[in-house]
């Protein structure tokens, strides 16, 4: 036994040495940027999973009609310019001479194809393009988007709607989007054909992905990289060690407990900033019986008192202080304050475990009950530790929570459409439109199919028709003051319904080698085209 253990150890060490050699070996001449994230690039299909890191990676190989600059303003990309000849008609003038990575030309047909694909069943990005929009080709480089009603925020989510090639998708059987829960991977999940400044030359899911500079890119690229190599390093300590030793040039996230060590290492620094993402908890309010609870025949979360009890039993201040080590701002809303001017008018209801216990008793659960909770363990900063803290806080009011913390690939496959298999979950969300409408529509909208994409990410199906009506009028409202008032009403409704338990906005913490210069946007997407490295 000892002998075989020893052998295994020796061969593992040899293997590790070999792999290390393989990573560092061939790239001496070119300027190579190595970077590591705690999770994987989930899929190369840009409509598969709305997850910031993955979307950012797609941004390196795909272009969108419009994009966001370093300050999150909307700027032209594949659409050189656009105008609204009528309030419901948007005309886009497409850039000429743009080529996909396979050499084919980019035309209006690709835009129309992408507009349909992104709204097809199975897409996780259906809300990025207005559902009522019809796309009309004017000529090869002009395309019209015709809406049923005026929509001032129609372009807000275009920056993460990446344009795919029609001919490539048809040739490779990738016309339909890849479901995040798909068990067999599709062609589009493993290959890309964008127009972006980088080309993926190698993609081994969960192992490494290699980006090579696109020599035929249409635009000027700020980055001086020839190659970028992505690896997943799930273990916190290993990730930090890799950064400090210079094995990688960028890591995300820097574990909160290691910020000091990175800064004093001399080779790297922590780049911190506020993040737009809000971490929150959701509760299954639609099933008649929770899937994994000891309460049979009814769903406790349908009772508003139980939802309030959960909210009040969780001590977010302490979570922010201890689990997040001060690197988080408790939030009353599902949106970051910088994205909504009237956010300061909202206050987080107080932590009050006594009241929580009383409410549970009133609702008929004086001894509490038990239920399951789903949590990712490699997605957000200290996600599993937050969930564990929630478990012990709820235990103190008598609710027994069985925590199921898993890597995000398994977690999202379980909790997302079509199964929505969860009773109680933790998610973090950045509205891709940078606008409150997205929260009212995609997070808090009823999952009743009244509009495609509504409630896509409403995993517990919180449903109040008033919120839906407000979301619709917010979508069309052009007067900012009135719009903000409607948004406020929507958020107030969610709060009085105790529909969600917002926790906090986490702080961004990237570990960046001193050789590297890059731009950190508060949406926490790493854009390779802004990364430069001293060779």
């Amino acid at each position: 036994m000892l002998n075989s253990t020893l052998k295994a150890f020796v061969s593992a060490t040899a293997l590790a040495g070999f792999l290390g050699l393989a990573v560092t070996g061939p790239a001496q001449a070119a300027n190579v940027f190595r970077f590591a994230f705690q999770g994987d690039i989930k899929s190369l299909d840009p409509y598969s999973l709305k997850e910031s890191f993955t979307i950012g990676m797609h941004g390196a190989v795909f272009d969108s009609l419009t994009t966001r600059d370093k300050d999150l303003n909307i700027v032209p990309m594949l659409a050189e310019s656009w105008e609204t000849p009528e309030p419901t008609r948007w005309r886009f003038h497409l850039r000429k001479g743009v080529k996909f990575h396979d050499g084919s030309d980019f035309t209006a047909d690709d835009v129309i194809f992408s507009a349909n694909r992104v709204r097809a069943p199975g897409s996780n990005f259906t809300t990025n393009v207005p559902a009522d929009a019809t796309w009309v080709k004017v000529d090869d480089h002009t395309v019209d988007m015709v809406l049923k009603t005026p929509n001032p925020i129609a372009l807000y989510q275009f920056s993460t709607w990446y344009i795919m090639s029609k001919s490539w998708a048809e040739k490779n059987g990738a016309v339909a989007p890849t479901l995040p829960s798909a068990t067999s991977t599709s062609y589009a999940a493993l290959h890309e054909n964008g127009t972006g400044p980088f080309i993926i030359s190698e993609h081994q899911p969960g192992v490494r992905t290699v980006f090579k500079k696109n020599p035929n890119y249409w635009g000027k690229v700020e980055s001086n990289l020839d190659e970028a190599i992505f690896t997943t390093i799930q273990n916190d300590a290993t990730r930090v060690a890799a950064l400090i030793s210079g094995e990688v040039d960028w890591i995300d996230p820097v574990p909160l407990q290691d910020a000091q060590r990175v800064n004093s290492s001399g080779t790297a620094t922590v780049m911190a900033g506020p993040e737009l993402r809000t971490i929150f908890l959701g509760m299954d309010q639609s099933r008649d019986e929770l899937k994994d609870s000891n309460v049979k025949g009814k769903n406790p979360f349908k009772d508003v008192r139980v939802r309030e009890a959960f909210y009040r039993a969780i001590d977010e201040e302490t979570i922010a202080k201890r689990v997040m080590r001060g690197q988080a701002v408790p939030s009353a809303l599902l949106i970051a304050p910088v994205l909504y001017p009237r956010a300061s008018e909202f206050k987080r209801p107080d932590y009050d475990p006594k009241r929580a216990k009383a409410l549970l008793a009133e609702a008929g659960y004086p001894d509490g009950f038990s239920l399951g909770m789903d949590c990712p363990n490699d997605r957000y900063v200290n996600d599993e530790a937050i969930c564990q803290a929630v478990v012990s806080m709820l235990a103190r009011v008598g609710v027994k929570v069985n925590l199921n913390a898993q890597p995000k690939a398994k977690y999202f496959a379980k909790v997302l459409a079509p199964a929505y298999d969860t009773s109680f979950y933790l998610v973090g969300w950045t509205p891709s439109s940078q606008d409150s409408h997205n929260i009212l529509f995609e997070i808090a909208g009823c999952r009743n199919g009244s509009k495609p994409g509504r409630g896509n990410w409403n995993l517990g199906n919180y449903c109040n028709p008033k919120v839906d009506a407000l979301a619709d009028s917010v979508e069309a409202e052009t007067d900012q003051t009135k719009r903000n008032a409607e948004i406020k009403e929507g958020f107030e409704t969610i709060q009085t319904d105790w529909g969600f338990i917002p926790l906090h906005q986490q702080a961004l913490a990237w570990g960046v080698s001193k050789k590297v210069t890059l731009t950190q946007r508060p949406d926490n997407m790493l854009m390779l085209y802004w990364v430069s490295k001293q060779p």
Partner: protein, 316 residues
């Protein structure tokens, strides 16, 4: 000669303890300081494990007792250490000392049950293979040979993974313990089977077995009542060493995240969580569970080594 004396004069009745004190084993034990030390340490760990619920300042498995404000506290001898957390707390406010006591308990329970399961399986299959021989023997021993080509931890991982896929990843703590015991049992039976089989091959041609057959005893009776007691010596040695191995296997599985649930941390789970903080200055989360595990396994191994030498007739 000796036998006939005993027939005439029955030996005086002596207690089991007194007989043990006269045995070679005990004499050898008294001669070996190492064995006595190892025994003392093992006994101490056993006592701590048994007494855990009464001597721990906190029940680390009850989430209601964890106070987040007490998280990541250093051991008491540091300036900001807080009583009663003598060895500090982990990132959830779990008292490390209590977690070590409870962790020892889990490790020993899993280890002992694992040994019982693998021992039962291995002895049974070894007896059957050795006694009947032929096709049955070939079949069992080839399965054993195949299994020996895989490391035990790999088999435990496979059993654990398959069962989790079949039962769903969410299961209660007792089911998780049962599962881990089963996976350890299934990975360690081979050594017992091989040892028992070779002893049985020697024993089965001896006169007393033939006599048993002649008077018409059934095979199971001969195997269990007459052959088994004569082949048990080596089994004890294997069992002791396997106890240490089983404990290490459980810790490894938990370290890899497939063992016991996080809400019920065993020593391996504590080492895994602590590992994240090891380089950040919070060394106590990993160090104390690590020391406890190393101490326990070392003590049991030393005891096993001594037992092997003491029972080896060639060394006497």
């Amino acid at each position: 000669m000796k036998a006939s004396t005993q027939d005439i004069l029955p030996a005086p009745k002596r207690s089991a303890l007194a007989r043990f004190r006269d045995s070679d084993l005990y004499a050898s034990f008294r001669r070996s300081k190492l064995a006595m030390g190892a025994f003392a340490v093992t006994l101490l760990f056993f006592l701590l494990a048994v007494a855990a619920p009464w001597i721990s300042p906190q029940n680390p498995y009850d989430p209601a007792q964890l106070e987040l404000m007490n998280s990541s506290l250093p051991p008491l001898w540091y300036a900001d250490g807080v009583s009663p957390f003598a060895l500090g707390t982990d990132d959830q406010g779990r008292d490390v000392l209590s977690a070590v006591f409870y962790g020892l308990r889990l490790s020993l329970v899993v280890g002992l049950l694992g040994v019982v399961v693998s021992g039962f399986l291995g002895i049974l299959l070894g007896l059957v293979a050795g006694y009947f021989g032929g096709v049955i023997d070939t079949l069992i021993m080839r399965v054993a040979d195949v299994q020996l080509t895989f490391p035990a931890i790999l088999i435990a991982l496979v059993v654990d993974g398959v069962a989790k896929a079949a039962l769903g990843s969410q299961m209660d703590a007792n089911a998780a313990i049962g599962l881990i015991v089963l996976s350890i049992g299934l990975s360690f039976w081979v050594q017992y089977a091989r040892t028992v089989r070779s002893s049985v091959l020697v024993e089965k041609n001896k006169d007393y077995v033939q006599a048993g057959r002649l008077i018409g005893l059934s095979s199971p009776v001969i195997m269990v009542r007459h052959v088994l007691p004569n082949v048990l010596g080596p089994v004890f040695v294997i069992a002791t060493i396997n106890l240490a191995l089983a404990i290490i296997t459980e810790a490894t599985l938990s370290f890899l995240g497939t063992g016991l649930p996080d809400s019920m941390p065993s020593l391996g789970t504590l080492i895994r969580t602590g590992n994240r903080f090891l380089f950040s200055g919070e060394w106590w989360i990993v160090a104390f569970p690590g020391l406890a595990l190393a101490g326990l396994v070392l003590a049991i191994n030393l005891l096993g080594d001594w037992l092997r030498d003491a029972l080896n007739p060639r060394l006497q």
